[in-house]
Amino acid sequence: MSDDSVGVYVHVPFCERVCPYCDFAVVAARRLSPDQEQGYVDALLSELERRAESYAGRRLASLYLGGGTPSLLRPASVARIIRRVHETFDAAGSVEVTLEANPGSLERQRLPGFRAAGVNRISMGVQSFSDITLKRLGRAHRAAEARLALAAAREAGFDQLSLDLILAAPGQALEAFERDLEEAVAFGPEHVSLYELSIEPGTPFALADARGQLRRPNETGVLAMLEQAEHRLAAAGYARYELSNFARPGFEAVHNRRYWERRPVLGLGVGAVSSDPPSARAPFGVRRQNTRDLARYLDCTGRAESAEDRDAEIFDAATARGEAVFLALRTARGLDSARFSDEFGSPPRGFWEASIDELVGRGLLEEAPGGDLCLTDRGRLLSDSVFQYFV
């Protein structure tokens, strides 16, 4: 994992309302007061200052403002954050700066401001172009707003747009999903993320699902949607470069790829997760998560005591190896045998000879002559079953 770059993730926990399937660290804040906003940004910047040391000398490759709903921040706040991050780290060429945005009217007006603040990529949480689906998902926005927001983003000069679509939403029929796909393709974003609705324990959806009230499409239905999506997006020039992500050539997400390639990411804010680079004490790196409690997080501001040490996970070789495989196999590029060997002293076959033979034999895994591994079409559908062999 010889790498001198760093990605910075900034978590903005505020949402106008909390979606019934969401289990992220979020706080419902219909209106974010200026004081609240400034207080949070102050805390972020003080955390950046405190923690930059562990990433000293690294060059900035990406900055990602996620949430929550980072578009609830005023452009001035976003600018403060971007500026300070740039002051902290030298750039490694052009830096991808992504902001997740909700397609609401408030955000729409702010898009030019975000652009001016230095954001160069927008990830728009469209989810669907069907009002019924959006309602069932408990989303605040409607399809018309999504269309306006996308147009506004183009108008503001964003030439890197990503669009989130959801699949297997409650009551969603294949035809409805196909219409979503068509409209997405017609708009022509550079990047599409396609997420199957997952039911997370503890969310209102989990409860409804347990009661059989969610009317989710069955397995056959979901498979048909997946197949249709891959087919339609491929025809429109989008490559499936990761299990849930499609992009036109050259527009793959720089920041998110860092996770699948296990490159260092400094995570700032409530509940943010960092992947510290390897050190003498932790040769395979450390993953740590900040507190998910906003009050506690704010409380740590300016104190020597840090908010992030709580859940530090120091990797041992075996855990790191397992993650290296299953994260890499999520991508179309697959697992680079040489890079793996550099880090762990032996190619994947040195650790999983029998498993690789079995998975290749079952047509789930493809092995290149040099030992690189990637999932087959069937392997992508059964990826979790494949990954179990390596963790």
Binding site: T319, D384, F387, Q388, Y389
Partner: protein
């Protein structure tokens, strides 16, 4: 040395829960065997005492002193007997060590199957029987009715019956006097070559095997060289003890006496219950009568769920056998379950006890194959041999006939439950031998194949009679039956652990149930899984577990990765607990469910 005329050796026999332990405790109290401090706790809880004394006492055998009405002090040896049906041989040996027995009968419940079984054993052993009607303090007690049952069912004179309440200590004095008056003192020739009956033994971590014996002739002294007449093992006596109620060293045990013998024996397998102990030189010519080598009746394979626990299981079985010589085991390999042991038990209760102890005391997670009995196979060329495992059954074409062990089941039940009991016995291929009304109870006797009771017969009796039925059995003989081997196949590979020997009429039903049950518990895999039940090459039932088509996590970014990985690890751990047959992963629950199907 005590005058033999003032020794009484007796035991207490009873159906379970009729108050045997409480009565024993009351006898201890009445004879002031225990100090006040000890009396506060139930004496049965003697773990701490064992630790303090550095020697274990397994049985509740104890020596009491009692001053009788004639002013003389008597030694009363209360000899313990094992508590359940699988140990009837051990019971018979313990009875042989006595001259009398207290037959305890619950004043509410009346005579039960075990009461009767034990009473007959005692009568066969030539014991003087004192009927004791216990729990007369209960409001629903009906001692007169029970007295009548004693006459009608057992044929004992109920005029001799004593009425007691062990709980309240009523009638205990009279009982002690009756023991002295009615039970004869031991016979035996002090000058004859020594003979002692071993009626119990256990392993003690400090001194090795401890034998509990009753001396019939002659005298054993510390330092004597002794010989076990059955196993032909010679040792020197290291210590002798009486238990009154704590082990106390004595220098000798003479004819009529009961005590513990320690002779440097290291393993229980060297000591057989019922063996005769004599002097190595100038010993007795003939052993005491009645020795039978105990043979296991019920067999099943025990396998560790985790293959790496095999050594632990082996050690646990070795340790368990130290205290339970009737447990036998030998290594066995199953294609489906890996390395394990084929174990033999005295009966199905015994097998349950052993498995429970292995799991609880040795913290093992086990898979047990369906219990089977010892079948007798007569091959086409006339050769006869016995098998204890379905896997050992040769091809059907090579078999002339198969014989299975039969039992005589004695069931006691209130009249209103006779119907369901008869139904159950018929279902289990039973043949009614007779039925008799005894007061408020009906005694039903059935000839049944042992294989039909090894699963859950006892439980079923309890459930169809709402707990009022009781059950006991004796082995009868071997009889021919149309039996077949039923195999279960997963994607064409037989699961040897699920093979069964069944009556041919039951095969289709069992086969269908087995594959249905398995399907319920086998998770979908990356490919289709065919489940079949077959007799030889003939498939009689089939079902399919459809292939898993999709198993994907959508999002996986910074915050999701650890959680995602832990989920994968958890799923993998779950898979690891499964057993692989061919390339199919089968969870332990599937085996358990299939094996539990039993005769339901």
């Amino acid at each position: 040395m005590t005058d033999v005329q003032r020794i009484r050796n007796f035991c207490i026999i009873a159906h379970i829960d009729h108050g045997k332990s409480t009565l024993a405790d009351r006898l201890l109290d009445a004879t002031q065997a225990l100090s006040k401090r000890e009396r506060r706790a139930q004496f049965l809880d003697k773990m701490d005492l064992e630790r303090e004394r550095g020697i274990t006492i397994k049985a509740q055998t104890v020596r009491l002193r009692h001053r009788a009405r004639d002013g003389e002090e008597y030694i009363l040896n209360l000899i313990d007997t094992p508590g359940h049906v699988d140990f009837s041989y051990e019971v018979s040996r313990a009875l042989q060590a006595c001259e009398g027995a207290l037959l305890v009968i619950d004043a509410v419940q009346g005579i039960e199957a075990q009461t009767l079984a034990n009473a007959y054993l005692a009568i066969d052993a030539g014991l003087e029987i004192i009927p004791v009607i216990n729990k007369i303090d209960l409001p629903t007690a009906d001692p007169d009715k029970v007295a009548q049952e004693i006459e009608d069912v057992i044929g004992l004179d109920s005029a001799d019956a004593l009425q007691v309440s062990a709980k309240e200590g009523k009638g205990i004095e009279a009982l002690l006097q009756a023991i002295i008056d009615k039970i004869p003192p031991p016979a035996g020739d002090l000058s004859a070559p020594s003979r002692g009956l071993i009626f119990d033994s256990w392993f003690d971590p400090y001194v090795g095997v401890v034998m509990l014996g009753r001396i019939f002739d002659g005298k054993l002294e510390v330092g004597d060289s002794i010989r076990m007449m059955e196993t032909d093992i010679e040792r020197d006596i290291q210590t002798l003890h009486v238990i009154d109620p704590h082990p106390r060293k004595v220098s000798s045990l003479a004819a009529g006496e009961v005590g513990m013998i320690v002779a440097g024996i290291k393993t229980l397998t060297e000591v057989r219950i019922g063996d005769t102990i004599t002097h190595a030189k100038n010993g007795a010519a003939e052993p005491l009568p009645g020795f039978v080598a105990v043979k296991p009746m019920v067999f099943s394979g025990l396998y560790p769920v985790e293959a790496e626990d095999y050594e632990d299981l082996k050690t646990a079985l070795q340790k368990l056998q130290l205290n339970d010589a009737s447990l036998v085991y030998e290594p066995e390999t199953s294609a489906a379950l890996g390395f394990g042991f084929r174990c033999g038990f005295l009966g199905f209760l015994h097998s349950e006890i052993v498995q429970e102890r292995l799991e609880r005391e040795y913290d093992l997670n086990l898979i047990s194959t369906a219990p089977t009995v010892r079948y007798r196979v007569i091959s086409q060329d006339g050769e006869s041999f016995e098998i204890e495992s379905p896997a050992a059954l040769p091809d059907a074409s090579a078999i002339k006939r198969i014989e299975e062990p039969m039992i005589l089941a004695t069931i006691h039940v209130p009249p209103e439950y006779v119907g369901p009991v008869l139904g159950l016995c018929q279902e289990r291929r039973g043949t009614q031998r007779d039925m008799a009304h005894h007061g408020s109870r009906v005694q039903v006797r059935y000839e049944l194949p042992l294989s039909e009771v090894v699963f859950d017969f006892h439980d079923k009796i309890k459930s169809v009679t709402r707990g009022y039925g009781s059950f006991d059995y004796d082995l009868l003989d071997y009889r021919q039956a149309p039996l077949v081997k039923l195999d279960v196949l997963v994607n064409g590979d037989p699961i040897d652990a699920l093979s069964l020997i069944v009556h041919k009429d039951a095969a289709f039903h069992r086969g269908t149930e087995l594959v249905r049950k398995l399907k319920e518990f086998i998770p979908r895999q990356m490919f289709e899984v065919a489940l079949q039940a077959a007799i030889g090459s003939k498939v009689i039932a089939r079902t399919t577990v459809k292939a898993l088509r999709k198993n994907v996590t959508a999002k996986c970014y910074g915050g999701d990765i650890s959680r995602k990985r832990k989920l994968l690890e958890k799923q993998k751990a779950g898979k690891k607990r499964m057993k692989r047959v061919g390339n199919v992963e089968i969870p332990q629950e599937a085996f358990l469910a299939a094996l539990k199907l039993g005769d339901s």
